[in-house]
Structure formats: structure tokens, C-alpha cells
Symmetry: C2
Subunit: 541 residues, 2 copies
């Protein structure tokens, strides 16, 4: 981006940006007013519908030199409207049903501005004051939602200096890492002369405890952040063992138990088992009660990654689907997914308020012992006051409000699943358990051809359908009217072969049933003109 | 917090929060307008001057039950003004010179709102589009600022799918962890049958390479996040070895070299050396050139934690103070410190664009190989578009604007240091190298008494002065007119005994010289009435 006019760096103009607010008629103020008065309209009008190729967009972001001279705010605002906003993604669009971002409640916009204006740092009381008890309350509320302990329990622990019922994180990845960090440090704790893994490290810990290795078991549908956690924590990705799933994408408990016993018989300690409560790809929930039982037998940490599905606990209609989550030692829930909070609000909860003892840390100038500084048991240090936005949503939407939203989303997914099933030329791949499902486009003639195909023909058709699905998904995104994502599964009906599918998440309250009909229409239309269709599949039609 | 009136959860009211903006006359809109028109006034008027005790504030955040029924936004807005905003911390106040948060440029407020409204997720192109090249450009600019490579270099690497010149992080802690994660994985890389620590974990890595241990060396003034990194990464806090500093709080290179050689002779591999460029407690910069030299000799990773001081590179007047930083393999810089960006903008830079190869990861539904998704080499997953705010500041303030701000801050610190030195009853403890200094209140009579005191008397006076400093700092904070922080150092003039000191950071452009005079006056006045003064020190007066 290049400034159109050169402002001049002077002390006076510099002071102005810290003291004089944007004038009401300025470009940036006008943009802000549009956002305030009609966010959906602003996004619809300013985000270009048709996708510009990435290499074209990159041309506006080529210079690696920081400009010497300042730019006028109005010029900058103009530039980013054209070069950035126009080519951003309309994540709030009701036809954008491919990922976990959704529309935001409007009251969060002014509140976000308040949050930024206050610029609190939650690492310590001295820079956050009332935000600290607020964050502790939000953690208490989410803990109560998950574990349902008594009022006495929360009165005792919620604001306790020595304890934490959870930790706010930038997202689910840091939440999962934090949970497994605690699991690791609790397993390899101080013992006799050994001062614990926190002090002496993994190598000394393994020598002391005499384990031949550590392992973490999780469904093959586990989120990729768990692999990252295994890497970062020194466990190793190969020791993060993926267990197969049944046809409903739930972990196979027989296989998991067998694997666990096999590992333990080899001297490899199962450090933790991770249950997935809402897999990223199919939205299914592992058998949490059975997993809790196995963890108890193995005496290992039970973590539930409910980053996406955790919000379902807010619905009394559907929270039974997560039964067993209350037995988990730790639980990840992302408020920026189904809780409608903007990006950057991950939460990890700990059943035992003393769980964080093994990761507690202090410093001379902050986080002094006995202080209530939140930073003494978070992986991150300085952090913004995102907890306020979660707090606001819990109050303004209320549990019943969330219940309505969640129930609607699940029912919408059921509707869409039925709709897909009724089409001759579509195929539902995974049934929605929550509001996430997968499907693909398969013309009736191809379905017929598959029934009579020999082994090689089948594989050829599978390959062509995969290419077709990927091609359609890409083109639909580029066309810009709607967006579904795609992933690769290994469903039974495709002989467990790698199968590319469309993936939709129906959490946006503004997505109408009509839009779902339209999306199928659009895809059907697109398929007719897809070059992959013509090249590889027309012979079967 | 309790709602005053109960709203009713209905489908209609729920849809309204997603579709109908806040009415211009609503409580929340009025709050927002105040913030827009006069942020400083809003903060001054709404944040209570006199501190309310934490246990009093906690009373408003007691319930662990999520309210069943929704609350009206206007009621909620009213509540948080009284219960949260009133008891937050005025981090932007020019007399709040105790921490690294400062005033924000006004244009960042509407831009933050735009960022939230767009709600992009930087983990992948599909949910961030133009924000991805923008973030890559910001990383390129910061890389160029630090390493000053050629234009060809940036044209080649800045937007390369396989590479990353750095990573945006929620803060300096994640930045430091990322840097040391890379250092660890590069050291313990795949080799023959061994697939690398990323795959096989720390224990297998140590067995393969035959090291007896790993160590990281850093000055005793290193940030506490480095200890956390050592813990998380499985290295162990005890193997994070603190090296003493000279009287200027710079690491003692003789001691560091000796320690490194001693460790290596014991079969303990020095994995990394961390240079501090702006220590959190005293603001001093380690001898980076000498450290780079030692790292080369040891063939180990050189990381520079310039979370706070890195912005000094923007000043041609003072960037020479960080000479040698361009030799670092990785550098942490927090834009939310001296770059005046709101909380949540950490950056880690890598000299070698291929550095992230050892932490690269992929998944089926995103971060596919060959994609330019930023999430394939960040520790975090989903992340907001904070890079936009850094981008905006770099353009609107410009390098020269930053230079003015940084030069002014450093000169202000020099002024304050001189002012303190001139006072009979204050004592400068650490000279400012950047805009951070430490000092304490020591009445002239006590200075005199110390000259003639025997060993025991000295220790008694030291202890009393420590208590006095802590007491004064606490009371000044509670009084609410101004704020300095405190830490504990071991300065020569106090026989290297633990010494509690006031710590000030002078990065707020609105802090005037007069305010610095006033702060000393306030402290002098406070000291007269301090109970510690009366109880333990009056006999010397």
C-alpha cells in the first residue's frame, strides 16, 4: 500500500493521534458509522462478491520497507477499504456455512471497542483490576456449566488466590496445550530426589520414572492442535496415537482399550486420553463415559476437547449428548465458536481447582505468591480482556437464549441432512449429531454405475468424485455467493477409501432453510459445467 | 451481576441481537459515543480514582450460575459501567507509568471495531483472504527492520507458501515459546533412523543424540516467560540457567562463556542462548554481538527477547543500542508494548525463512500442503486479524513518527533520572538505557546513617527500606492519582542484597515532565505518613 499524500512527521501531528479523536466526518468515522448502523449491509457492500486471485491481492502487500513518512488516517482508511476489506472473507454471511465463524451479536461491537479503549492486561491485577474477578467469574460459570459443582465449591475456589478453575486462552490450541501440559506435569511430578518435570525436564523425568515412553490416545478425528501439543510438550507426534472410529465417527473403544493395554504392557505410560466432543470434521461426540471409565482404570488424565461442541452444554435439550464430560479432568471450550464471541476466546477448565499447581509460576515484579494475578497459571502472559465479551454474552443471551440458538442450529442441520438425502444427485456422508454434517454431489447415474463397477472402475470413480468435489468447492468459494468447506474422510460406503466431502457448519442463526435449498441448487448447477465432471465422469452419465 | 429487569428469551428477541444494531440513543451507544469523542475524558470520568479493595469488587462477581433469562443490553451496559469499568485500571493515564501499557492512538479504536466486525480467522486463507498477505507483509516489514535483508530476499520469501519470516502470536510468551520450540526441534532433528523430536519426543531424541541434558542460558534478568518455555518444551526450569549481570544489568559474558563450556564438557548441550533487549525490570540490553559470537562458537540457537525494546529499532538515533540483534536466529517483538497497538500483538521473527520447517503441520480440512495458510507454522490455531492494527500503525505513524516517539521516551527517562539524582531523598537505582528506570525513596539522614552503620544495622535499614518502598508503592496505587510498579533487584550499592525499588516505564507520549516532578512530590509526601517509616526508620531521621 502506498500513501497518496505524504503527511509529515511532526511532534504536533503525533500528539494529535493520541489526543484528538477522529473527526465525525472523517473517512474512518464514516466507516465506523456504517458498521454501527448496518454491519450486515456494510459487509455485503464492501466485501467483493467475486474472489480476486490471491496473487493479485498480494500485489498490494509487496513492500517490506516500513514507510518513512506517516500517512493520513483518511488515506489509510481508503486504502484498506479497497485493498483489505474488499478482499476479506464474509465470515458472517448466512450463506458462508463452511467454517466455525458465524454472525456476531451486534452489542459485541461497541463492547469490543470499550475493551480496546480500556486496554487492560489480564496477566495481573495491577493492570486489570475488576477484569480479574470478572474473568474468574466467567471461568466459574463455565466450570459450573460443565461440572455442576455446589455453590459452596464455587464460593471457596472461584476467587481463591492459590487456585484456578480454568484459564482463558487465545484459542482452543493453547487451551489443549495447557490441559496436556498439566496432565504431563502431574504424571511426572516431584518424587523423592526428583524435583518434577517442570524443574528437571522430560529426559530426567523419564529416567526417574523408568517409563519407556509416553502416549496420548485420541480418535483419528482429533483436532490437529493435539499433534502440535504432543510436539511442543516433548511427547512426540508418533506417540499421539490415533484410534480408529466407528461408522459414526466416534472412537472405537475396543480398539482404544486394546491399544492402551498393549502400550502399558510395553512399559509405555498412557499419559492422557482425549475425548472429542464435536469433531472438527464431522461434529460427532466420542463415548465420553466409556472413556472416563478407561481413564480411571489406567489412572490417566482425561481431557475432553469440546472446543466446538462444548457450547451444547447450554442446551438442556441436547446437553445429554455430552454426558460424561463432567468426569473429565480438563475440558476445552472455545467461546469464539458456538458461543458467538469474536475470535480469540479459548477456555480450558479444570475439574480440580488445584490442577494448576504443577504449572504455577511467579516473578519478582508481578505474579507474586499470594496474589490473585491470573498470569501465575496461564501459558500466555499479557492478555486482553476478552472475558468481558463472554461475560456479556452469558448475561445478554442467557442460558435459555443459547439453548434456542443451539437447538435451532441442530434442527437446521437435521433439516439439511433430510434435504440432502431426498436429492437423487447428492449423498449425505455423515449424519449430523450437532449442527455439522458432510455430503457430496454424486449424480444418480454415477451411483448406479458404482453398483455394477468392478474394483478398478470403483477406484477410478472414487478418484474422479474426489476431484469433482474439490473442484466444485473451490469454484463455489471463488464465485462468492456461498461457501462450504471440504475435508477428506474414509466412510464405509466408499470402502473406507479417502473421500473428499463438502463440510457445513450450521451455527449462523441467520442461515435460512431457503438458503440451504439454494446452496444445493447452486452446486447442482455448478456440477453441470465442471471440467472434472466432463472429463472423467461424463461417460457414466 | 444481576439484571434489573428480566428480558424474555424469544426467537424474535434473539434474532434482533444478530440483526438490529444498537439504537443511537441506547445506553451502549452513548457509551460508545463518549469513547469515540473523548476517550481520555471517558476514562478519567468513569474509572474511579480511589481504589476499591479487591474483595469488595469480587462481591459483584460471585455467582457461578449462568443466568437462565437474558438481560437487556442497556441494563448490562449500566451494570458493567458501575461494576467493571469503574474499577478497571486507567492504563492509558499519563501518570500511570508503572507498566508497559500506554495510551493508544485514536484511529485504532474504529479500526479495532472494523477488525471485530470482519471477524477474520488468520489460521487459513479461506477465513481471512487478504488478511493473510497483509500479515505476511507486516512480518516482512518487521523482519526487514530487524535483519535488513535485500529487496530480492523479501520478494522471494515474504509470500512464499513453504516459508514464514515470522509468526504473529497473542503475545511475547507465545513468541518466545515458538522461537525455542524451533531451536529445540532444529537441534534434535531427524537423523538416520531417528525421525526427529517432533515425531518421537524428547526422550527418544536424547537417547538418539546421547546428550546428558539440554541447557538454555540467559541473563538473570530474563523474562519469566522463558522459564515457562523451558517447562512446556520439556527442557526443565533448572536447565534454564540464569547468568549473573554486571552493574548495568547486562549479562556477564565471562560467566556465560564459562558456564557454557562447563556444561558442554559435561555432555550437556547448550540448545540456545537468549539475549535480552530491554529487560523487563531495568530496560537494559545484553551485549548482543558478544552473545552472537558465543552462539557461533557453540553452534547453538541465538534468540533475542526484544518484546519490549525491539521497537527501538524504529529509531535511527537509538537503534545502535540493539546492535547484534541482526545476528539472532529469532527475535521476539511485542507490538502491544512500545508500538502502541492494543493488547494481543506478539511477533516472533526468524532470520532463516526455512526455520519453521521443523514445526510445520498440516490437516485434512485446512493447512493443506502448498497452501499459504499461516496456521501451518504457528503455535496457535484460530487467531484474529491483529496484524491489521500493526499495519495501520506502521503506515499512519511511519518510521519517522515512531522515531520521534521513541526518542522522546528515552529523553524523558533521562530527564527523570537526572531529576531523581538531584533529589536529596531519592536514589536512582538503575540508569535508563531505554525509557525504563528504577529508583527508591531514601531520606538523606538514612543515606548518612548507612555510611556509618555496622553490618547488622545496614541489613536492618535495608529491610526497612524494602518494606517502605513496597508500602509506598501499594498506597500510591490505591490513592489512584499515579502509579509506579515495583520489583526487587540486587544492586551493588546495596551490597547485592535484595532491594525493592520503584520501576517506571516512560512510553506514554502524554506523560509530561511536570507529571514526573509531581510523582516525586507525591511520594515524598506519602513517605512522611507511611507507618513503616514511622515504625522502623524514624530513629535514624
Amino acid at each position: 500500500m502506498g500513501p497518496k499524500r505524504c503527511a509529515v512527521a511532526s511532534e504536533e501531528s503525533l500528539m494529535r493521534i493520541f489526543t484528538v479523536p477522529e473527526a465525525p466526518g472523517s473517512t474512518l468515522s464514516k466507516i465506523e458509522q456504517e458498521i454501527s448502523h448496518n454491519l450486515a449491509g456494510f459487509l455485503n457492500e464492501n466485501i467483493a462478491a467475486v474472489e480476486k486471485p490471491l496473487h493479485e491481492i498480494e500485489k498490494d502487500f509487496q513492500s517490506a520497507s516500513i514507510p518513512e513518512e506517516p500517512t493520513f488516517v483518511s488515506d489509510y482508511a481508503q486504502d484498506i477499504m479497497e485493498q483489505l476489506v474488499a478482499h476479506s472473507v464474509h465470515t458472517a454471511s448466512p450463506s458462508f456455512i463452511g467454517h466455525m465463524t458465524s454472525a456476531l451479536p451486534h452489542f459485541l461491537l461497541p463492547l469490543s471497542k470499550l475493551m480496546v479503549g480500556l486496554n487492560q492486561n489480564l496477566v495481573k491485577i495491577e493492570t486489570s483490576k475488576a477484569f480479574t474477578p470478572l474473568e474468574r467469574q466467567v471461568l466459574g460459570m463455565m466450570h459450573h456449566l460443565t461440572y455442576g459443582q455446589s455453590e459452596t465449591f464455587y464460593q471457596k475456589w472461584m476467587h481463591s488466590a492459590k487456585n484456578a478453575l480454568g484459564a482463558f486462552c487465545s484459542g482452543g490450541t493453547v487451551a489443549n496445550i495447557t490441559a496436556l501440559w498439566i496432565a504431563r506435569n502431574r504424571l511426572l511430578k516431584a518424587d523423592g530426589d526428583f524435583k518434577g518435570i517442570s524443574s528437571q525436564g522430560m529426559f530426567a523425568a523419564m529416567m526417574h520414572y523408568g517409563y519407556k515412553g509416553l502416549a496420548v490416545l485420541v480418535s483419528e478425528r482429533g483436532h490437529y492442535s493435539l499433534g502440535k501439543a504432543a510436539d511442543v510438550l516433548g511427547i512426540g507426534r508418533d506417540n499421539f496415537i490415533a484410534i480408529g472410529t466407528d461408522k459414526n465417527n466416534k472412537v472405537d473403544m475396543v480398539a482404544m482399550r486394546e491399544k492402551a493395554l498393549e502400550l502399558e504392557s510395553q512399559g509405555i505410560k498412557v499419559m492422557a486420553i482425549v475425548g472429542v466432543a464435536g469433531t472438527t470434521e464431522t461434529g460427532n461426540i466420542d463415548p465420553l463415559n466409556d472413556m472416563a471409565q478407561l481413564c480411571e482404570e489406567l489412572n490417566c488424565h482425561f481431557h475432553v476437547d469440546a472446543a466446538w461442541g462444548g457450547a451444547t452444554l447450554l442446551s438442556n435439550t441436547y446437553r445429554h449428548l455430552l454426558s460424561g464430560i463432567e468426569k473429565a479432568d480438563s475440558v476445552t471450550i472455545d467461546a469464539h465458536k458456538q458461543m458467538y464471541v469474536p475470535m480469540g476466546a479459548g477456555i480450558v477448565l479444570f475439574k480440580d481447582p488445584a490442577a494448576t499447581d504443577v504449572i504455577e509460576h511467579h516473578a519478582e515484579y508481578i505474579l507474586r505468591k499470594g496474589s490473585k494475578d491470573l498470569g501465575s497459571h496461564t501459558l500466555e502472559g499479557s492478555r486482553p480482556g476478552m472475558a468481558m465479551l463472554v461475560h456479556a454474552c452469558l448475561q445478554v443471551i442467557g442460558r435459555k437464549g443459547y439453548e434456542m440458538l443451539i437447538d435451532q442450529s441442530i434442527e437446521k442441520a437435521q433439516y439439511f441432512a433430510d434435504l440432502i438425502t431426498k436429492q437423487e444427485d447428492f449423498e449425505l456422508i455423515s449424519q449430523p449429531e450437532l449442527c455439522l454434517l458432510t455430503y457430496r454431489y454424486v449424480p444418480k447415474a454415477i451411483k448406479g454405475a458404482l453398483e455394477h463397477a468392478d474394483e478398478q472402475e470403483k477406484l477410478d470413480i472414487y478418484a474422479a468424485l474426489n476431484r469433482l468435489t474439490a473442484s466444485m468447492q473451490k469454484r463455489q468459494r471463488e464465485t462468492g455467493r456461498s461457501f462450504v468447506s471440504r475435508t477428506r474422510l474414509t466412510p464405509e460406503q466408499y470402502d473406507n477409501q479417502p473421500t473428499v466431502v463438502f463440510r457445513v457448519v450450521l451455527a449462523n442463526p441467520l442461515t435460512s432453510y431457503q438458503m440451504l435449498n439454494d446452496i444445493l441448487e447452486e452446486q447442482r448447477e455448478m456440477a453441470q459445467h465442471d471440467p472434472i465432471m466432463k472429463k472423467y465422469l461424463s461417460k457414466y452419465l
